[in-house]
């Protein structure tokens, strides 16, 4: 399955054009080519070590490409574009004297020189973003004292603060329990509609994203293929993706993805689509 052009009527925001990346003599990405439209929610699905993080870093301009190019919002990819980034893990020191609101504000003016006081615009934007991610209560807390899940939400608020056109999230659903996974996905979907921001989110399981995703990019052994959810959430496609047998069932109007053969010791039912 090739990468079809963008959904009709949508403007292109990102074009990853025949990108190749080698790290230490090993080709991590080869001939990766896909587009993301404005306001689109795209899932980047792949197992650990498939090259997801490298691809996100290439889009951010943090990873040099050995061939091809990344175009973001009409300009060849470089750092500091209209992109918000939520890395998989940031370890904050327990004692760091920075409050949640301070950190979110750095998302707007962290690159700016000088000590000028923050204008009202910045402070209003910080409050707005914190409220929309249901973090208003944490604004005055020290960032190092929060739990891992709270810190991740704060990283999302920080990434959104500068009103980016594209939000990149690296494995935001790893290490969350199932209710929090669904909650996070729902919040992201709500925020992207409210802010009109495109979302490119990496994950190793497709299930939780199916309700909100416009399209899927899947990545294996450094190469990608993509399509709409309707095209991808099918037994033969998912079986090829996971490398073993997968069933897609329709139960009471919800799609349920079941991995593994019946009687497989590792078999467990997976998730859930309306």
């Amino acid at each position: 399955m090739g990468c079809e052009p963008l959904p009709p009527g949508r403007r292109e925001l990102v074009h990853v054009h025949q990108v190749e990346v080698s790290l230490g003599g090993r080709t991590v990405l080869r001939d990766v080519d896909f587009r993301v439209a404005e306001g689109e929610f795209v899932g980047l699905i792949g197992t650990n070590g498939s090259g997801k993080t490298t691809l996100l870093r290439a889009i951010l301009g943090l990873q040099a490409t050995t061939a091809g190019e990344v175009v973001v919002d009409g300009r060849e990819g470089r750092r500091g574009g209209p992109v918000g980034y939520v890395p998989q893990r940031v370890t904050f020191d327990h004692d760091v004297p920075v409050r949640v609101a301070d950190f979110v504000a750095l998302g707007v003016d962290g690159t700016r020189f000088g000590l000028a006081r923050r204008g009202r615009g910045v402070r209003q934007r910080v409050d707005e973003v914190l409220d929309s991610l249901e973090l208003g209560d944490l604004a005055g807390r020290r960032i190092g004292a929060l739990s891992g899940g709270e810190q991740q939400r704060v990283l999302m608020a920080h990434a959104l603060a500068s009103r980016p056109r594209l939000l990149l999230l690296d494995e935001p659903l790893a290490n969350l329990d199932l209710p929090r996974v669904h909650d996070t996905v729902a919040v992201l979907d709500r925020v992207r509609r409210a802010e009109g921001v495109a979302v490119l989110l990496s994950a190793h399981e497709i299930g939780p994203l199916v309700p909100v995703m416009d399209r899927v990019v899947y990545i294996a052994h450094g190469a990608v293929a993509c399509g709409t959810t309707e095209e991808v959430v099918r037994p033969e496609v998912l079986s090829a993706l996971y490398g073993h047998h997968v069933d897609v069932l329709n139960v009471h109007g919800r799609v349920v993805v079941v991995e593994g053969e019946p009687g497989d010791p590792g078999a467990h039912p997976e998730v859930v689509v309306r």
């Binding site: 951010l60 943090l62 980034y85 750095l106 003016d109 690159t111 020189f113 000088g114």
Partner: protein
């Protein structure tokens, strides 16, 4: 204590404390303690070299400290502890050899290592003040990007902060601050002043601006108290700087763990 000959000591001590406090906060936030320990030793070698060739010791201090900082920046990208340790020891050995070659007397060596109340000559205060103003302006300009990249280098780089250039610039600031501090508090104690008060300030405050202000205040308190104690006792100022810096850190740590234990009964 406030006799005219002490004016230089107070003035120089105040300038040194302000820069050390402010730069030190970022040393602590950026986990560059080992580098901040190595760079003053480079300054020591510079002062020793200046003694040998008869040049201005401030010039020797600044040139060697900046060279050490750039060396650490170039070699230490991957947190190479072994390289930092060897660079540090090399600078100390070089300093010792240069002092031996110049036939310097023991008080000269002691002053460079452990500080000297009257270590700054009258003519040097102006140069010192200019360096302090320069460092202050640089720090004010870089405040937000420095803070940002201390929290997450990756995120800051993605937003367009030039993290490598910023890190090298920061180490040069550490070098300037070390060059100023070495003649007053000594090569071996500069590090205590750089790390102790800011580490205490970091524990006691919530926001970055207040942490910066408190770091400067605690650093001033440490240096002023050390100058006064050294004046009254006649003991070396380095001892008091080390002792007061450690005391501030221990007190802040005790206060926070007391507060935490009260917060969750």
């Amino acid at each position: 204590m406030f006799a005219p000959f002490m004016a230089n000591a107070w003035l120089a001590g105040t300038l040194v404390a302000m820069v050390s406090g402010a730069v030190g906060l970022f040393v602590v936030l950026r986990h560059r303690a080992f580098a901040a320990h190595a760079i003053p030793n480079g300054a020591f070698a510079g002062a020793a070299g200046a003694t040998l060739v008869g040049a201005s010791s401030l010039l020797g201090l600044v040139v060697f400290a900046v060279a050490s900082a750039l060396g650490v920046a170039a070699l230490g990208r991957r947190r190479n502890d072994v390289v930092t340790a060897l660079a540090l020891v090399t600078m100390l050995a070089l300093g010792a050899a240069l002092l031996a070659a110049s036939g310097a007397y023991e008080p000269t060596i002691d002053a460079l290592l452990f500080g000297e109340l009257l270590g700054v000559a009258r003519g040097e205060v102006v140069a010192l003040a200019l360096l302090v103003v320069g460092a202050g302006v640089a720090l004010a300009l870089l405040f937000r990007p420095l803070l940002y990249s201390s929290l997450s280098e990756e995120v800051a780089a993605a937003r367009g902060v030039a993290v490598r250039a910023l890190d090298a610039t920061f180490l040069v600031l550490v070098a300037v601050s070390a060059a100023l501090a070495v003649p007053v508090v000594g090569a071996l104690l500069t590090f205590a002043l750089t790390v102790g008060p800011p580490a205490a300030a970091r524990m006691l405050t919530r926001g970055p601006a207040r942490a910066l202000a408190l770091a400067v205040v605690l650093s001033l308190a440490c240096v002023w108290a050390a100058i006064a104690s050294a004046f009254w006792s006649g003991w070396p100022i380095g001892f008091f700087v080390g002792a007061y810096a450690a005391a501030e850190y221990v007190a802040a740590r005790a206060a926070t763990s007391w507060g935490e234990s009260r917060a969750r009964p």
